[in-house]
């Protein structure tokens, strides 16, 4: 066993790769790794990557070879690279490109399959779920229906045959546009950051069929909207953008008008309030998945077909609802861009995102952006609040199902909140919670505005606007504000209650205060001590620490 402790990598036998982040060559090795391995966790000092078939095929699709990977791993590893890993890398990468999907020369309704050898064709033919999608194409070829493109790739992938999709994309209706040099809103120069440019380029790949789909993973506040605008500028075609809620839709529209040459009559919102289908249309997931009754058709899914879209953008792609997955499977001919801060899905369907929206094209550790000053340096605190006035006894007597809620709305939290708000009286504070009664109490206590799902869209916009301008320093929000709300000046968030152990919720809520600012950001979670809430908070805490955030635990007292 040769040991080279001076190197920054440990390659484990199961394909896990550990990278020391304080190593002088860290950045170089990180860039090398990120091409063929997925960043799993990034706690301080030691980041964990995972080599698995998807990441290797992704690397192969970008032209990376087995030799490059093997040589790099050997060069940077502290221990000898496990032979099993080298074998896996070799065998997996070699599988990529054995099956190709091409445009049919004569029939637009078909896509032709190309196999490297007859033996590969025979093996693929033995996969029952795939074989049933294939049709004879003359005597020599096999083909699939163009409409089966998504499902075929999905099934092939699950059978271990990554398809090199060279069938290209349907060209949408052209939409000439440019990015502005100066923003309309404040007149300041508009500059696309390097990593934004890089992620757009990695996604687009100069218009080659190997690009044009996939997911960009960037932390909240890193400017995913700008990445989308940059890709729109590259594609130059009509675009459908799907966002999480009405406020997010308005924000998208505002950003597009602020930073591109598009006019107001070219950008429309398709929500419950207004249904404008324009060259660039921004819709919500809710409206797409709305139906009059449980058994009825989804009324608005036609939006996917109404226009000849050249690009579909999925904001917060990790929230993609099941019906939209289904619709997306039929849209494999369109360019697709997924945006998210975390690919973690509480339902574990990350694989579907990969198959149907596309592979991850770019990601960047939160910490790296923090170090570069692109997002705020955040400090996370878990404040443990004790019970008061017989709350503990009531909690003990409560039914199991009730306990979490009781702990979450512990009235003693309000007294701790008093202290926090006093400490941050000069800051722009968001108080975020899940339980409406609790939020109403808080709003009354501090005479502060409250935004919930019931707050009408225009009123929300007014309140968000006031908060952005500093006219309102304290805003109480329910979970409607978890996603896609751009509140650049918020620097303190206090989470008074959360949804059990939801990791992505924690990340998203933290994301509300991550826009870069001078004095950093503070994120407080108020947790009732020694309750179920504390157990669930532990899971959320784990997620944030794995993302590289420092997490402090404090004892709160009224």
């Amino acid at each position: 066993m040769h040991v080279r402790p001076e190197n920054p990598l440990i390659v484990q036998g199961d394909g896990k790769v550990l990278l020391e982040t304080k190593h002088p060559k860290h950045e170089l090795v990180r860039d090398f790794l990120s091409r063929f391995a997925e960043l799993e966790t990034s706690p301080e000092h030691l980041h964990t990557y995972r080599i698995h078939p998807l990441t290797l095929w992704n690397a192969a699709s970008s032209g990376m070879t087995k030799a490059e990977i093997v040589e790099g791993l050997r060069q940077w590893s502290k221990f000898d690279v496990p032979p099993d890993v080298l074998t896996q890398v070799g065998e997996t990468i070699e599988r990529y490109g054995l099956v190709k999907l091409q445009q049919h020369p004569d029939d637009k309704s078909l896509l032709r399959l190309e196999f490297t050898t007859a033996y590969v064709a025979k093996l693929v033919g033995q996969v029952k779920t795939v074989r049933e999608l294939m049709v004879e194409d003359g005597k020599r070829y096999l083909a699939i229906q163009a409409g089966h493109r998504g499902i075929f790739k999905q099934r092939m992938l699950s059978a271990g045959w990554p398809v090199e999709d060279l069938a290209g994309f349907i060209e949408g209706d052209p939409l000439p546009m440019t990015m502005r040099e100066n923003m309309v809103g404040n007149g300041k120069p508009f500059v696309v950051r390097d990593y934004q440019k890089k992620s757009a380029d990695r996604w687009f790949q100069d218009g080659r069929p190997s690009g044009g789909n996939g997911v960009i993973v960037l932390p909240c506040g890193a400017g995913k909207t700008i990445v989308a605008i940059a890709t729109m500028a590259r594609v130059q075609q009509k675009t459908l953008i799907l966002a999480t809620n009405g406020a997010a839709v308005n924000q998208w529209v505002r950003e597009i008008l602020d930073k591109t040459s598009l006019r107001e009559d070219q950008v429309g919102a398709y929500t419950g309030d207004s249904k404008n289908i324009r060259d660039v249309t921004v819709a919500t997931y809710q409206i797409l998945t709305w139906r009059p009754s449980k058994d009825a058709e989804f009324t608005h899914l036609h939006l996917f077909r109404d226009q000849n879209w050249g690009l579909i953008v999925y904001d917060e792609v990790h929230l993609l609802p099941a019906p939209v997955f289904g619709a997306t499977a039929d849209l494999q001919g369109r360019r697709r861009l997924g945006l998210t801060a975390t690919l973690v899905r509480e339902d574990g369907r990350e694989g579907d995102v990969f198959s149907l929206v596309g592979p991850k094209r770019f990601d960047m550790a939160w910490q790296t952006l923090e170090e570069q000053g692109f997002i705020a340096e955040a400090k996370c605190y878990e404040v443990r609040v004790p019970w008061k006035n017989g709350g503990a006894a009531k909690y003990e007597r409560a039914r199991e199902g009730e306990k979490f809620r009781l702990a979450a709305v512990n009235p003693a939290k309000l007294e701790v909140l008093d202290g926090l708000l006093a400490r941050h009286r000069e800051d722009n504070v968001l108080v975020i919670g899940t339980y409406l009664d609790q939020l109403h109490d808080i709003a009354r206590r501090y005479n502060a505005p409250l935004i919930t799902g019931e707050t009408p869209g225009p009123q929300r916009d007014v309140l968000f606007g006031q908060f952005r301008r500093g006219e309102v320093k304290l805003l109480i929000v329910s979970k409607v504000a978890n996603f896609s709300i751009d509140l650049p000046d918020a620097n303190v968030a206090v989470q008074v209650s959360g949804s059990f152990g939801s990791r992505q919720e924690e990340a998203q809520r933290l994301g509300r205060v991550l826009r870069p600012k001078k004095d950093g950001a503070h994120f407080y979670s108020l947790i009732t001590r020694e309750t179920k809430e504390q157990e669930f908070a532990m899971k959320r805490q784990l997620f944030l620490t794995e993302q590289g955030y420092r997490y402090y635990i404090q004892e709160g007292s009224a």
Binding site: P5, I10, G13, D14, E44, K78, P82, I553
Partner: protein
């Protein structure tokens, strides 16, 4: 002479069957400058760096390792004096001397020893020897310097060709030079013998003849190569941890249950394949050294022994491993050293096998020689040997090239024979998500301790541990204390102890006793001798716990052994064992004094305050005569209580009551609850309590209890007409 070491008995000897105290540790700190007084009581923080000297590594691994006693070496001259004169003279002659001119035998011996001390003289002698003669001499040395003549001739024919008679002549030539002797003809055979003091010197000069040939080729295929072959101490510590956390259940045949064995094999997939002999080696090693033991139908880890083994010097650890390997392959240690001498190159099987055969035959010849058996046994067939056991144990790697088999040390074997001075890993990674990554190469004792406080979740190039509430609970049961554990993590974590982890562990471990009791027999060493004491490996076995430099706990059952060992080591132990308390009677007297002192303290009060307090009893208060209150209040005639009395007056009242069989009405000041009670008692006698204070033994009329009342606490008293025997 003032004692340098003292033994202190700090607790009574435990009774048979008394439970043992908290686990004790024996770990030494190499940093002697460290402050002693403030060191953590457990000594758990201390890890000995992996620095060591290489001990008795054979200078030529191809010959049998000879264990010379110091006496033999120092008595070289005596040895030659005992030899027949012609043999010494022959040796002296071949070393360039002229015995004829010297004359006296004693002088010849002196000069021979001196000549041997000059290496070049022996070198010159060997240069004059023919190459084939040198090969024969080397073969004889490989046999251990002893060989049955006829059989050795056949061995030489087998090894180098030629005829037996030719080899007999060769041996005669060597005998003429005085470097080979015979045992003298007995019946039909005799033995060739190399004078033992010459062996080392000859080995030094016969290097090329003794070297094993090596083989290199690009197409050598390594059979059954394991992807990961860490040092044995790493895998042993990890396996012990795993078994501690998941104690395997055994069948009636004392085998691990199949399902658990499969889980175990799966967990250690990077180290061994299922049903591998490597696991069996680990398991047997742990079992034979008491690191694991059977408790009921489960295997239980004896953590103290594991820690003990891990804190041994690498050479000592190696000795134990060799001993375990010997059970699988005779002379395993020699084989490993022989292959080690090839410096990582492949060693072909044939010459290695021939060498092994000579070792085995040498052993046989030696045994027969000492039994006086000079005749070759009949039916002495050619032996078949194999190194498969060492290959299966993961100590050797076998390479195949065509029909050729070649061997080399596996990385595990290399680490055993040549442990690296420093593998560059002094600390582990503790990340804020409660994971600990500990790379192979970290001190195994650290790995084992991590297993005590965190769940082992993966075994690989870097072991993965996870701190959970359950693992912390287990750590508490294993004797870890909160601050100790946090300090351990803080000291050995590359990035320190993340704040959230610290807070959570504090909450999980709860409040910790900052003060603890120990029942020990302590050994103290004067500060001038601490370094010497701690550097003596032989004494370490007696220390069961190190509190700090100069203060150790020892096993009180082994005091005679310890005293002897200390004396042998030149440390002068005190003749008397210091006891705390020094003697029981004195201790009792001391205790009594303290009781009296306590009493005195209790009774100590300001007389003025006492008088004031006594005079303001509410029952005694009356309106001021002439005041309105006096007018308004109807005068009540309340019986007055007894008069206030000094202790002497009280004593007089008591004596009077006793003499006349009267009762006593009194106000008694109870120190227990600082209350004053009005009592009516029937006195029986005046006695002394154990503190020597006078007490009144009397019957309390109200409660009917017979109690004693300190005279000094009776504040008021008077006799009553109530007599003894009248009852209440």
């Amino acid at each position: 002479m003032e004692p340098q070491v003292e033994v202190h008995e700090m607790a009574p000897r435990p009774q048979e069957g008394a439970p043992r105290g908290r686990r004790q540790r024996r770990l030494f700190r190499d940093d002697f400058d460290a402050a002693g007084a403030g060191t953590p009581a457990s000594g758990k923080m201390v890890v000995r760096p992996r620095q060591h000297r290489k001990r008795w590594k054979p200078s030529a691994g191809l010959v049998r390792r000879r264990r010379f006693s110091r006496g033999e070496i120092s008595e070289l001259a005596d040895y030659f004096m005992s030899m027949p004169e012609p043999l010494v003279q022959a040796l002296y002659r071949s070393l360039g001397g002229q015995p004829v001119r010297v004359g006296e035998q004693e002088r010849v011996v002196q000069l021979t020893v001196r000549a041997l001390a000059q290496g070049n003289r022996l070198s010159g002698l060997l240069q004059q020897v023919q190459p084939r003669d040198r090969q024969a001499l080397a073969a004889l040395l490989q046999c251990g310097g002893i060989a049955h003549a006829d059989e050795f001739h056949r061995e030489l024919v087998l090894m180098l060709g030629g005829r037996e008679n030719d080899w007999a002549r060769t041996m005669a030539v060597l005998a003429d030079r005085g470097i080979v002797c015979g045992s003298g003809p007995v019946e039909e055979g005799f033995y060739y013998l190399v004078p033992e003091p010459l062996v080392d010197a000859l080995l030094e000069h016969l290097g090329p003849e003794l070297e094993l040939p090596t083989f290199e080729h690009d197409d050598i295929r390594v059979a059954d190569q394991r992807p990961f072959c860490p040092p044995l101490d790493f895998s042993l510590a990890t396996l012990a941890t795993f078994m501690d956390q998941h104690p395997p259940k055994l069948t009636q045949r004392q085998e691990v249950f199949k399902q658990q064995r499969e889980e175990l094999d799966k967990f250690f997939a990077q180290l061994w394949t299922p049903e591998s002999e490597i696991f069996q080696l680990h398991y047997d090693f742990l079992m034979m050294h008491g690191m694991i033991e059977l408790r009921g139908d489960r295997v239980s880890v004896n953590r103290e022994v594991v820690e003990e083994w891990l804190s041994l010097e690498p050479e000592d650890q190696r000795d134990l491993v060799f001993r375990a390997l010997e059970k699988r392959q005779a002379m395993a240690e020699w084989v490993l050293w022989a292959i080690h001498s090839a410096k990582g190159a492949w060693v072909p099987e044939a010459p290695l096998m021939a060498l092994y055969r000579r070792w085995k035959r040498g052993e046989d010849w030696r045994e027969r020689f000492h039994k006086g058996l000079y005749t070759s046994p009949r039916g002495n067939e050619r032996e078949g040997y194999s190194f498969t056991a060492l290959v299966n144990c993961g100590m050797l790697e076998i390479g195949i090239w065509g029909q050729q088999k070649v061997y080399r040390l596996s990385p595990r074997g290399v680490a055993l024979l040549d442990p690296p001075e420093d593998e560059g890993f002094a600390k582990f990674y503790l990340t804020p998500n409660y994971e600990i990554i500990a790379p192979a190469g970290l001190a195994p004792v650290l790995l084992f301790r991590l297993g005590e406080i965190a769940e082992l979740v993966g075994c690989d190039r870097a072991n993965t541990y996870r701190i959970t509430e359950i693992s912390i609970e287990q750590a508490l049961k294993k004797g870890w204390r909160r601050e100790e554990l946090l300090e351990f993590l803080r000291e050995y974590s590359q990035i320190g102890l993340p704040s959230n982890v610290e807070t959570t562990i504090r909450a999980w471990m709860g409040p910790d006793g900052e003060v603890e009791f120990h029942e020990i027999t302590a050994l103290t060493v004067h500060r001038a001798h601490i370094q010497r004491f701690e550097s003596m490996r032989g004494l370490r076995a007696y220390v069961v716990h190190r509190f700090g430099p100069g203060l150790y706990a020892v096993d009180r059952k082994r005091l005679p052994e310890i005293t002897l060992a200390l004396a042998e080591a030149g440390l002068n132990p005190g003749k008397v064992i210091r006891k705390y308390p020094a003697d029981d009677e004195a201790a009792q007297s001391r205790e009594r004094l303290h009781h009296l002192l306590a009493e005195a303290r209790e009774q100590r009060e300001d007389p003025v305050a006492r008088a004031h307090r006594a005079d303001t009893l509410p029952a005694d208060l009356r309106p001021v005569p002439g005041s309105n209150v006096a007018v308004q209040q109807k005068r009540r005639e309340t019986p007055r209580g007894p008069q206030r009395a000094s202790p002497q007056e009280v004593r007089a009242i008591v004596d009077k009551a006793l003499a006349n069989s009267l009762g006593i009405e009194m106000i008694y000041h109870s120190l227990k609850d600082d209350s004053r009670k009005q009592l009516l008692v029937l006195p029986e006698k005046v006695a002394l309590n154990r503190e020597g204070a006078a007490v009144l033994v009397a019957l309390d009329v109200e409660s009917g209890n017979r109690l004693s009342y300190a005279i000094s606490q009776i504040e008021r008293a008077r006799t009553t007409e109530k007599r003894l025997g009248e009852g209440s």
